[in-house]
Subunit: 437 residues, 2 copies
Amino acid sequence: MKLEDLILVSIDDHAIEPPNAFARHMPAKFKGREPHIESRGGRDVWVFEGRATGYMGLNSVVGRPKEEYGMEPLGYEHMRRGTWDIQARVDDMNANGVLGSICFPTFPGFAGQRFQTHPDREVALAAIQAYNDWHLHDWCNAAPGRFIPLAIVPWWDPVAAAAEINRMAKLGVHAITFSDNPALHGFPSIHDPYWDPMWKACADNSVVINCHIGTGAKADHASDLSPIDAWITSMPISIANSAADWIWAPMWKKYPNLKMALSEGGIGWIPYLLERADFTHLHHKAWTNADFGGLKPSEVFKKHIITCFIEDDFGLQNLKHIGEDMVGWECDYPHSDCTWPNSPEVVWESFKHLSDETINKVTHLNVMREFNYNPLQLLGRENCTVGALRAQAKAKGVNTAPALGMGGAAPKRETGKPVTSGDINAMFKQADAETAL
Amino acid sequence: MKLEDLILVSIDDHAIEPPNAFARHMPAKFKGREPHIESRGGRDVWVFEGRATGYMGLNSVVGRPKEEYGMEPLGYEHMRRGTWDIQARVDDMNANGVLGSICFPTFPGFAGQRFQTHPDREVALAAIQAYNDWHLHDWCNAAPGRFIPLAIVPWWDPVAAAAEINRMAKLGVHAITFSDNPALHGFPSIHDPYWDPMWKACADNSVVINCHIGTGAKADHASDLSPIDAWITSMPISIANSAADWIWAPMWKKYPNLKMALSEGGIGWIPYLLERADFTHLHHKAWTNADFGGLKPSEVFKKHIITCFIEDDFGLQNLKHIGEDMVGWECDYPHSDCTWPNSPEVVWESFKHLSDETINKVTHLNVMREFNYNPLQLLGRENCTVGALRAQAKAKGVNTAPALGMGGAAPKRETGKPVTSGDINAMFKQADAETAL
């Protein structure tokens, strides 16, 4: 295989919702109450039910030079067009040789957290449905075969969540976004039968539960004086606590075909966690009553839990300990860990020791199977490769050169001093204060 | 090499302080104010300056059958004698073939946290020094060559901490216990120059900073309904956030010979973290001002940070990514993850693919070098092996059979239902309530 022959499907990217996303799909009854953009102190700010967002771009720095990765866009004009414009997004995917993409929500929170706590639940559900309709019809379906749609569900009513899953599944949606630990948001634990109607709807419709890092357990800023690099380093692995929690959760026995994904969690630490889980089971089950029906915890994980990587040489060297059938690739466009527009070159370096069969599994075949996604049939396999997609971008003249001075807020920076967690948090806190109603 | 030829030095065990530990060493001025044991509602309880402990054994379940690992000893009579009696401890080490041991404090907290927040700092410092004197003279020195002494330091005054380090170093102490993140206890961050006098004293005296899991960042209980197995699984890796924080900390440049240890952190996830740290540095340094003087973050880690394992096949298969010169073994006696009295058999299984040279490094040579510890010279190498030590235990008739019905508090257990985080936390909360003054 050559680099140009790769077929890349990313299971973790992000869309910035354009200003009209909700207005186009909110039911007439709630006209005027949909989430909308207001201009406030030079910022574009999402406002819903009297609550405003601080930053609406959330580290959407793709296309900037690395020197500007710490800046926060204040509005649409500070972001590369591909972050919010679907045609420009497809151009950017082509330029990076990326065939398919799962896009998490931004303003609603990666798991739609922002909609879960509004006192008026009728309008909150309407906003969730408007989001789902925009995401499916205006974003994903604008480029058939290029996206795996991902729905938000209401957490306060698992029967309503099941209904929304059923509604979206009829439209071809096989993925929802969910918190890796809803208990941290004040909702019942994943071990509570409360969620059964939702798990069942997912299992019945072959819908994968996607849990993005930061939607429950969070990477802690170790201290205000800690260099921000330390926090960035520990971000993906911070989902390990939740990963362990899902291994011991009860839905796998009840719904044997149910699947979930640890989005942006990385893979290199998984073999350690699985060995530790098996050790724990062997060493402690005599008093904990743990019962996997004769299986090992690692076997449960490998059957039900999808993991993914941006750049993870060590993980890819140890796929036999993870299970090469449940690993996928992610691009993380448009966030700062993203390797756009050189993702194929970056992953190719990690693939050198892998067989073509394994490469195809982790780049697209696993995801196609688990997410009921078949772009090859629709578009023709020969049109889906890195080489073919980049040729399209070249023919269209997509410009991928870093753009200087895109603008935005910047953390405090002093020569020779590290940018700290305190500096970054202060930047976000100020935005919250300035945009508060 | 045969199993009997192993020489095992553990860098993470725990002592339960016997009732007279402090009384014997508290200065006359504070006579009567030393930490002491009171009998309260059938419990042995440590009391210091009006504050009582809930449980004084903290999961000291060695010697019980696994069915009783979840129980909490209520007093000395509920614990195997080796937990608090130094001669019995040495017998238990012999029975397990363990030559050397670093013992963390129990009642004071693994890092001496309990002494750091008393309003009367003079008496708190006296208690710390009494602990250190007990630990060195009565515990470690009772069996020459068998222990690596570990001192507690005062956090509220790094100059006093340096003085205590200097005092203990003169007595041959080359290790202190410290929090992996003192900022989480309200003290300055490890990035604050506040700590410089302490780092300097450690560097000047070749003293290793030992940070045990749970002394700063903690494994979170994901939810009350989460099976306790999930929490046990994620305990060691919970130090990953702090590990990243120490990589980017400033003391390594200032004190190039300074070393620290991530105690009970495991090793299998380290290669992932180091690759992630290097990726972060390469990808983000342009805006974060991070500066390792041309080194990679992984190189800084490998030079300064000692890691250890109880049972970690995957980590031992990947030593080349961790650095085989900075890895040590741990027994974790008397806690429930401990593999006593079969530790040699357990680690031997993990060592099959390693050279004798590497086995000797990770079992004792690395630790002897880093901790200025030379038992082989003192005791004669031939007397230090698993075979020789077990022969001593056999000659003395040390009984290692699991003892049933040792007694203690038990979490709620119902047939067929998992023991949860909520059950365990309720057991501890009740003890705190019942022993409060």
